[in-house]
């Protein structure tokens, strides 16, 4: 089938327009962050940051508590992801490899839990945390973020464990491994793509979480970066250069992680599927 010239051009033209549309906000964030203030507040936009400057980044980093909040965010994110991976591995192994009463019900429970409307439960969580005198602490944040990502982690890892051929595990056990050893030596390494996919999701969830920290941690030293960023613009008047520098700093780790891991994670999912 031969397509007309028009038929060949329009998909590519549309793709370019869409590409620009999707990339522009991200580009504009970085571009503004590097532009000197004079170029930001000019009557005609300066499209490329020709005299790049790091002033705005310096201002963002020097803002009150910045490094404390970085430490808070990293701690909460890493701990919650690691905790949920460990707990989920046990559960996923049981759900994928063992037959027992109530298995189906548990899977449905995790599917329901995965859809939990956390944004709407903040008042109740606030009361529970307050009654336990844990406001302005990182512990409730860590465990609740862990719970936010746990169901999906369990369900995804279950698929990966199920995709490892039983024979591999059995032959390891024939060679004298116990079942836990067989799990660690044979199944675990094959789960790497699954672990990456789920931890990517976990990192994004915990790094971005906003409503809970908004209500639980009023103390400026106990907050995390999303809250800091959302208040940054108000705090700095309309200093868009510094605000965009702060946004860039906040977004960069996730953008990098996503671009590196997304292809691997997705192709990992597909490989697992094909090899079944």
């Amino acid at each position: 089938m031969k397509r007309s010239l028009f038929g060949r051009i329009w998909p590519n033209a549309t793709a370019v327009v869409l590409f620009v549309g999707f990339v522009f906000p991200v580009y504009w964030m970085f571009a503004t962050a590097f532009k000197p203030t004079g170029d930001i507040i000019s009557d005609d936009p300066v499209w490329f940051p020709t005299d790049a400057t790091l002033d705005h980044f310096k201002k963002a980093v020097d803002a009150d508590h910045f490094w404390t909040l970085v430490v808070n965010s990293v701690t909460v994110t890493v701990l919650s992801v690691v905790l949920s991976l460990v707990i989920a591995l046990f559960a996923a192994f049981a759900l994928a490899r063992m037959r027992f009463k109530g298995r189906r019900g548990l899977i449905v429970t995790f599917m329901l839990a995965q859809m939990a409307p956390w944004e709407v439960m903040i008042i109740a969580i606030y009361m529970v945390v307050r009654d336990n005198d844990m406001l302005n602490s990182l512990v409730p944040l860590t465990v609740i973020y862990m719970m936010m990502v746990l169901p999906l982690t369990v369900l995804t890892l279950r698929g990966y464990v199920a995709a490892v051929p039983r024979e591999l595990e059995e032959s390891a056990m024939v060679d004298g491994c116990t079942r836990p050893q067989a799990f660690i030596k044979v199944i675990f390494p094959l789960l790497a793509p699954g672990l990456m996919a789920t931890s990517l999701f976990g990192f994004i969830t915990a790094w971005n979480e906003f409503p809970l920290v908004l209500i639980l941690n009023k103390d400026a030293e106990a907050q995390t970066l999303p809250l800091w960023l959302s208040q940054f613009q108000t705090a700095f008047g309309d200093d868009w250069g510094a605000t965009m520098a702060a946004s860039s700093l906040f977004a960069l780790p996730i953008l990098i992680l996503f671009i590196f891991l997304q292809r691997k994670a997705v192709s990992g999912l597909t490989d697992g599927a094909v090899k079944g």
Partner: protein
């Protein structure tokens, strides 16, 4: 990433689910003889931490939410740790108030507009991806992935800057296009234009998830189906409606439900944009519950609003789960 950030959770999954070979039926019968008691307990022991976490961290707040919604809980009771039950007063107050129903109507319209836009644009872009050459596809994918990965709070801040009254690039472009009244337009001044900005933001963040996964799903359509269709004399449109669409139907249905759930409970985009303003006019149910409950410190009333919202979401979720469970029946 929450709504959209949340979007990553099923990356590539719909396509995968189809292709995954169902596990062969089996008992746990590798070793001969009846399983010992320790063996029978093993799965429950392995699941214990996950179950405990779910009960304590999810179940408890849910129950607490139900309890709070039957209490008179204002700053006085909060500070003195008083528990005052007031029956269904909170529900009566909420359900007979005009505000609540106005917010419900607004949330429904807001969700509907967003989901329709996301699904239509996502599907079109997904199909476009399937049609593009390799290089152009990679380029567009890169753009989509960048928008998809952008953290919600950062994205909201960037949109505030794009639509800023002074020096915002959108106003500049509209002005240059001849729409001079837009030169110093304040987008967050009216309900409609605030919603327009929020909608654009949500659609921009959510479309990549639909488009990329839909493209992945189209790659699993067997080529023979199209050959058979063209042997039967089907044109482009006919083979689209008789092969592509039926094949993608389960995916589209499940994704639509997911998007409904995500958009309905979106919080950050609206709150960080303008805190539900101007004048409470862009409050959807989650924001309304927060502003009433926490902002105005009517915690009991806020809990009642939350509970009603959770019920609505539960109904939508159960439809979604039924769909997913039907697709996965063989796997469970």
């Amino acid at each position: 990433m929450s709504v959209q950030t949340e979007g990553t959770d099923t990356a590539g999954e719909p396509a995968v689910r189809k292709a995954r070979v169902p596990a062969p039926p089996r008992g746990d019968g590798r070793t001969a003889g009846a399983p010992s008691r320790g063996r029978a307990a093993a799965p429950y022991l392995l699941l214990l931490p996950a179950l405990l976490a779910t009960v304590v961290l999810l179940g408890w707040p849910l129950v607490k939410n139900g309890l709070l919604s039957f209490q008179n809980l204002n700053p006085r009771q909060l500070i003195q740790h008083l528990t005052e039950w007031n029956g269904v007063d909170n529900y009566r107050e909420v359900l007979t108030g005009e505000d609540f129903w106005r917010v419900v109507g607004r949330s429904v319209v807001f969700t509907a507009v967003n989901v329709v836009l996301i699904m239509v644009l996502g599907t079109l872009i997904g199909l476009l991806l399937a049609r593009l050459g390799k290089k152009m596809r990679l380029l567009l994918m890169l753009g989509l992935v960048l928008a998809w990965a952008m953290p919600v709070v950062a994205a909201t801040t960037v949109y505030q800057w794009l639509f800023a009254q002074r020096f915002g690039v959108v106003n500049w472009v509209l002005d240059k296009l001849g729409w001079h009244s837009m030169a110093d337009h304040n987008w967050l001044e009216t309900q409609f234009s605030t919603f327009a900005v929020v909608t654009l933001l949500i659609v921009w963040m959510s479309v990549p998830f639909v488009a990329v996964n839909l493209y992945a799903a189209t790659t699993t359509i067997p080529g023979e189906l199209y050959e058979a269709a063209s042997l039967d004399g089907a044109g482009t449109w006919k083979s689209f409606t008789s092969v592509t669409l039926p094949f993608l139907r389960p995916f589209l249905l499940a994704t639509t439900f997911l998007e409904i759930i995500w958009v309905f409970k979106s919080f950050v985009q609206i709150f960080a944009m303008n805190e539900g303003g101007p004048d409470h006019l862009t409050e959807t149910l989650p924001i309304y519950a927060y502003v009433e409950g926490v902002g105005n410190q009517h915690f009991g009333v806020g809990a009642a609003i939350s509970f009603l919202t959770i019920l609505v979401l539960l109904v939508i979720t159960s439809y979604y789960l039924r769909l997913v469970l039907k697709q996965e029946e063989d796997e469970l």
